[in-house]
Amino acid sequence: MSTNDELNKIAEELWKSPSEDNWSKFRETVKKSKAKYYKVIYTKSLGSKEDLRKSYAELYDSKFKFITKIPIFKEVNGKVEGATINLEGLLNANKPDEVETEVENKEKNEK
């Protein structure tokens, strides 16, 4: 199983149960994976737990190819808490759509 497959698998588990145990597995897996960038997708304001449940992070590799999406919250004893600290080590994608074009252009120019 490739590291990205492993990342996809743990992402599925996180969506089913964003427990501390699964987040711990995620931290280990993401280090070994090709994921380099993250982008947080969110509802406009964060006024309720539901808003946090609907938000997620997309993970990309060094060429901005999409790998997977993961939740950004954890559940501890029924409490819902933000969990972006688990993305430590990844870089903010800023504007991946435009960057993707830039990477593609650079590759075309190199050819």
Binding site: V40, T84, G89, L91, N94, K95, V99
Partner: protein, 262 residues
């Protein structure tokens, strides 16, 4: 953007921080890991010869940028900070104007009460937002954190109020007179570490930092502090243009602050 004398600004801020430490029994500082509060910590280190003699509080809503958490851990270790992380839980009954509203203020209330803090150093600047321009350097808050901005003590000849309602607290604002460009010039002069999100990558950078849900990057090619300063010397765009709570109805920031928000 008007540049001011850094030595004068530094001297006044150090005076304010020392006054606050002297006048209050139990003081703490808020740290968001942004440029302003990190500059304030650098000033506090200078004021007390390298060791900040009060706790530093991060109100953590769990959705800050991962880079921000890393910066927090690294600098807290490097500067030997007495760091208190106050977790703010998302509570539906507290849903406010945004994630910065009641949830963060509630977490701040809890940590202030738990540690009995009577004063809190906050790194706001007058030039950031109209409502912040109304602030005093020593600004009283009542028991429920409310700020009566229509009835504030005068501050003549650097005499600041230290009298407070028994269960209230005083907000101390040592950076009130600084501009954004002063902060960056001081960061450059003092070589203060900065959150990497301020530096351009892929043609974008963050100019004002909040959490992942309320901040967007601006187009910029500034790859170091010198380039950020150059960019600011010519820009006409407002500093907090990438912050959601500032884009909502005009009175939102005023209401947030009057209810205790930073």
């Amino acid at each position: 953007m008007i540049k001011q004398d850094l030595n004068e600004l530094e001297s006044k801020s150090i005076y304010i921080i020392r006054e606050a430490r002297n006048k209050f029994k139990n003081i703490a500082a808020l740290w968001s890991m942004g440029k302003d509060s990190t500059t304030m910590l650098a000033l506090a280190r200078k004021a007390f010869l390298g060791k900040i003699p009060f706790p530093v509080i991060h109100i953590d809503n769990g959705i800050d940028f991962p880079e921000t958490y890393k910066f927090r851990e690294d600098l807290a270790k490097k500067w030997n900070l007495d760091l208190i992380v106050a977790k703010s839980e998302i509570k539906p009954e507290l849903s406010g104007f945004s994630c910065c509203g009641s949830n963060k203020t509630e977490a701040l209330k809890e940590v202030m009460s738990e540690h009995n803090f009577d004063a809190l150093i906050v790194s706001i600047r007058r030039d950031e937002h109209g409502i912040r321009a109304k602030e005093r350097i020593f600004s009283p808050r009542d028991q429920s954190f409310k700020w009566d901005y229509k009835n504030q003590p005068e501050e003549i000849w650097n005499n600041y109020t230290s009298s407070l309602d028994k269960k209230g607290h005083i907000r101390v604002h040592p950076l009130l007179d600084w501009n954004e460009i002063d902060i960056w010039n001081y960061i450059k002069r003092e070589k203060i570490p900065i959150n990497p999100l301020y530096i351009s990558r892929n043609n974008y950078r963050y100019r004002s930092l909040g959490c992942t849900h309320c901040t967007v990057p601006i187009k910029s090619n500034a790859k170091n502090v010198n380039e950020i300063i150059k960019e600011l010397e010519t820009t006409n765009i407002e500093e907090r243009s990438g912050r959601e709570q500032d884009k909502e109805k005009e009175y939102v920031m005023e209401k947030l602050r009057s209810l205790g928000y930073m």
